[in-house]
Symmetry: D2
Subunit: 409 residues, 4 copies
């Protein structure tokens, strides 16, 4: 029965890492024998374990070593193995697929951190450059790509500190929790990010406009709390519709009444901006005078409007190519400390795919399915709350200095 002795260390008890690793071994049909175990006696002490893993055959053993490696298990290891990409956008067989956890590779005898870590990518190690995470489509023929998991080490997420602003939130999705506390926590996290010179990302869907909450998001932007906005054609269109016509999907946001011609207003809004050439031009020509997009332009908030097949128009600023839009989003990720995702499944999951596990992520949706999907797809660090975006954003504006003023339109 083939076996191998591996090493595991860190806060492996309270982070549940050891439990998960033992569970994986058993689920894969293997056996374990713990040879040395030094329990960290107090909270600040790390624990250490040497574990002999055995399996029915070599392939099963390799599977176990691969799975457990992604939770921090270290093999007595050599160098990473690199192979050239066989063609542009095609990876060598057996390529190492990344997680969103901090990752190092052992190359030329040195452990080197992988830059721009993102789940479901490859690791490219060009000579004389730091190794970096690369999505499949950006790999070029001949790029040296990590194959297998020898020489790769990931660092599991530490247990959340008891004084973290989100420590009171469990990982489960529930509608029955006090949400004002979550608002307080996210507002504090945003202030902590500011103090730490981190950037804040807002990802939003059009329900923000339909429910009349656009003015609250606008106030939060004008008060300087957002650095980057990821959205689609719909959010921008309905924001501009509201600015030009006072409606969203044809419903007057101030009265809730469907107005005559109203369902066409979003088309007329798009047509107006297309005639101007871009949202920025519309602002500069005085056509667009307020709203979320106006606030972004006048307050130097970067935005990526990613297209989708549901779009009317679309607005000229929309990146209609999905791969190009992903790359535009990727370019804004470094430096993000807090990500706030509100009322959009598509953009939340897309952004979640790109975020390192270290970004504090909050997902707000009225539908528990969105929150469940985000976590199912691997964004385990996200907290989800099931609530209404309108009231959430109203409360958030009220908790952020500068956003809670009479300027809410």
């Amino acid at each position: 029965m083939p076996s191998e002795i591996v090493h595991l260390e860190g806060h492996i008890i309270d982070s549940l890492t050891l439990s998960k690793v033992l569970d994986m071994i058993l689920r894969e049909g293997g056996e374990y024998h713990i040879q040395n175990f030094v329990m960290g006696a107090t909270r600040s002490d790390a624990s250490h374990a040497d574990i002999e893993i055995s399996a029915p055959d070599a392939a099963a053993l390799e599977r176990i070593l691969h799975s457990t490696q992604q939770h921090g298990v270290q093999r007595p290891t050599g160098e990473v193995h690199l192979e050239p990409a066989p063609a542009n956008g095609v990876l060598p067989e057996g390529f190492y697929a990344t997680t969103n956890l901090p990752t190092r590779i052992r190359l030329n005898g040195v452990w080197q951190a992988v830059e721009n870590i993102e789940m479901d990518c490859a690791v490219v190690a060009l000579p004389n450059k730091p190794p970096r995470c690369a999505p499949m489509h950006r790999v070029l023929k001949g790029d040296p790509v990590v194959v297998g998991d020898t020489g790769v080490h990931v660092t599991p997420v530490e247990r959340r500190a008891p004084d973290d602003v989100f420590s009171f939130m469990g990982s489960e999705v529930s509608t029955e929790r006090p949400k004002e506390l979550v608002v307080t926590a996210i507002a504090q996290a945003m202030q902590e990010a500011r103090a730490a010179k981190q950037r804040i990302l807002f990802v939003g869907g059009p329900a923000i406009l339909h429910t009349g909450a656009g003015r609250y998001l606008e106030a939060v932007i004008r008060a300087g709390w957002i650095d980057v906005l990821f959205a689609g054609n719909a959010l921008a269109t309905h924001d501009i519709e509201r600015s030009l016509f006072g409606t969203s999907l044809g419903v007057e946001t101030s009265t809730g009444n469907a107005v005559a011609h109203g369902h066409e207003n979003h088309l007329r809004a798009i047509n107006t901006i297309r005639a101007c050439g871009s949202i920025r031009s519309a602002v500069e020509q005085g056509v667009l005078k307020n709203g979320i997009m106006h606030a972004c332009i006048t307050h130097n908030v970067q935005y990526v409007l990613a297209g989708s097949i549901r779009d009317d128009g679309p607005l000229p600023d929309v990146l209609t190519d999905a791969v190009q839009a992903q790359d535009a989003m990727r370019s804004h990720i470094p430096g993000i400390g807090v990500a706030l995702m509100v009322a959009t499944t598509l953009h939340s999951v897309a952004t979640g795919n790109m975020l390192p596990a270290s970004v504090r992520t909050l997902c707000v949706d009225s539908d528990p399915d969105t929150v469940i999907k985000l976590m199912d797809r691997g964004t385990h660090q996200a907290f989800g709350i099931v609530t209404d975006c309108e009231f959430f954003l109203k409360e958030l504006a009220a908790h952020l200095p500068g956003a809670n003023h009479d300027g809410i339109s």
Copy 2:
């Protein structure tokens, strides 16, 4: 082919009544021939139609006449037919089953209004008393019960006036609507009810407490906006748990943290009240000092706490017998002008079953299923919004004079 000529009058075009009636005739396999039609030329004029309904056989014709009768169709009619109930709690075969619409019966040559109208009941016409709606279990042996629909006339709901506070709301269930407008509308409806000397009913579930919104409901009650509260053991228990221990389901409502022993606090709360004898006694003995139930007792708000098989304890005030609890609820219905149902499927549907169609009814739940179920079960007059009870109640308190003060605990 048997046929009969019936009459229909009123705002039968804009209330969709005529369309529905013709549709029913066709669905049942019948044919119609409209013999006289006088269209109301303007909005204030009623329309009149004489319709000859024919059907393949007498039974089918009777079915059509029965169905359309419930939408206002009048047969050239004689008196109602009465039969004695064969036993206590048992109705004569063929009994007329009520809708929640205003209903008259023709008895002794006179059209008489049926009192306490409620869906799915029988009509009992005791000599020398006005006819009244009676639930099956309250009919006594020998009571004269209306059988068949000869001599019964219901008045369909009028089209809602364009200046009604809820006129902007469609009947569909949607999460994507501006909810602050709904809050404004319900607050105005409550003020209109007060001005019209109508009573206001609040029906609530325990999520009000779990989400930390108990203090807002308490403020609304203390400001005098609620006359009657329908709830279950859980709402009262978690309210008392919060008052005695600061938790709800063991979660500290001020911090969101699960506290040690916390999951037992609701049991200790119940035990404490059981030891006092009743909620009122607990208030009088100074054991219970604040909260929703305290506010009800100190502000003379009537309440019915109806038991269910999920209950722990229960509290001594809970009516554990479902039929007895229904009757207690029934006794509070007359005079209700506005019903507000928040975060409870069980109590909302139960209350909806008892309300006349004329009561302005708003149902608030984070789960669209609750709202859909309420309407599926016949409470067609209800408006539903899908949102969070915490933020809804916070906003409601802010919109009601006297409830938006610093007294919110």
Copy 3:
């Protein structure tokens, strides 16, 4: 007080058209006076009405005429007004925005049908060509575009015939209905479409694979019941993952167990196809041997795989540009008689935007929100059922000749 006399005819009572039109007039602040009304005496007779509409001012009157025009109201009308598009992809101000209902325009003294009708588009009338519906981005500078609604006539949807396969379904969204009946009805509708030489469109999401229902869809395709497939990168990827590795999102579809390396299998599946060049090449090279995409290729089913920002890879067949993908989808719409949308919000709404109201449309999703959204966005002809795609597709295969054989893998 300005006024105008309009005409309305057809089955305007039982289709609710007259009721809606009168309601619109009142909601917009207008008044009506019905001058002539001829009621269709029996089900087969049309009704006719001349209605004088008056409004406080000319603008309000115009709004009313515009709204009611979209429900079939005819003004004593002249020719349509055409204006040239000011630039590529920009429409003239006041352009007429289409519905998804059959539409005619009056041009050169003749009523002409608008081709390729689709909601939220413009009408372009090039000389010597039939007028056609054009999405904004495909209008070229100088194209003659219909402006205003003079000379435009839409035909409202007729009441559904009582013998339609879907006649038992109401328009409401409910989880509490017998779903086997819906399966029977859609299977019959598909057979009717075949008999009428109409094409059948299937729109699907990746949950079909995650739940293990891929084999049922594959059997339906192999039995020849689908002509066109609209999906995204995810459905195709997880189908190919299942074919190559037996997993979907890393979960073994035959056992439900998460397998080692499994979460990477979709990446390896994409990489394999990228190395082959296309799905078709993979089939031809013998790499891809079964599954949904294999069935499409070997059975000449057209497919459009539309990209989104959530995509990994993507597969080489994916149209990553949203506008290009829309146009590819559009090119497959003519001739579609039945559209079946299963387990995808994004693709269902996108397709719904393009379908004429005459296409029989069924939307199946486990989340009521998807069904509600589809209807909120204007696809009123769709029926929705809230259920599981796995069991739905299993039942559907069992109801379609040729699909219910032992060949289900």
Copy 4:
């Protein structure tokens, strides 16, 4: 700083028990020092730990000891402390509140198992009788009740064996899983229960009837797979309505069409049974000839129909008193090995409250909220699947010997 040394043993690593205990200590502000730790070297070996817990003050230490005791931590302990109940239905202050885990108390120097364990109850230890779990309302004045947690020991749930039929299911709630595998697993669990002479409980809601799945449940009962049925008035009423009239909520289950008079059929069904005296009488008199309730009576399946305030009628068999209904349900719990809960929140949560953690429990609902609520309320052993009850029951019948025959009506 007060401290105490406790002991923990068992599969405390792979069951996550140690991790949870250390987490609790930290969350409550305590510190730990692990003094002895013997790691079970292989899967079959238990681990042992002596842990010194310290806390800022005695009260905090007591809180920590109390919380961790519920996860198996053993204090160097004396006897349990007993106090008499001060009144009927009232517990002594500080009473020990039970979990649903196996529990022993140390009394007269002996560890004794607590009978009928159920969460949220008290432990009563009458002289010369085994200690038993007692709901609050059944405690009599003077009964000796366990107070505090000295001398109480609970046994945490073991990690599920890798060959358990449910081992592939995670604890998370997800709609995107292969559900046929779940059906296979529950069918196997039912067969295992039969082989082990355990009883099988079915808990169901009326949607089973509305969706047309009553015939599948009936077939499962007739094939002898159910020993006990918990339901409400609605399930029985709509079952009898279907049997007498062929409808459910007035919708013909064979066609999906709403039939004339149909919405009254449930009232007439109830009235018919009330006239007969009971469901059994209706069967014996030949009035009720098939359906779920008929199958229960003719196959000696025990049932509890618990009343609720939503009920019409109710049927004479319904226990309208909630406490009495709970006690009736309780009397059927001993010996249950498998509990299957389908399409009911109320009855599922009520039953979950009473089940020991050792009962294999599966909850099936189309609404994720029901499944989430069941687990939130403490029934952690339950597996939940989000799917349609109609297709689920059809598949289940197909997987159970004897239920998948032509006898399905």
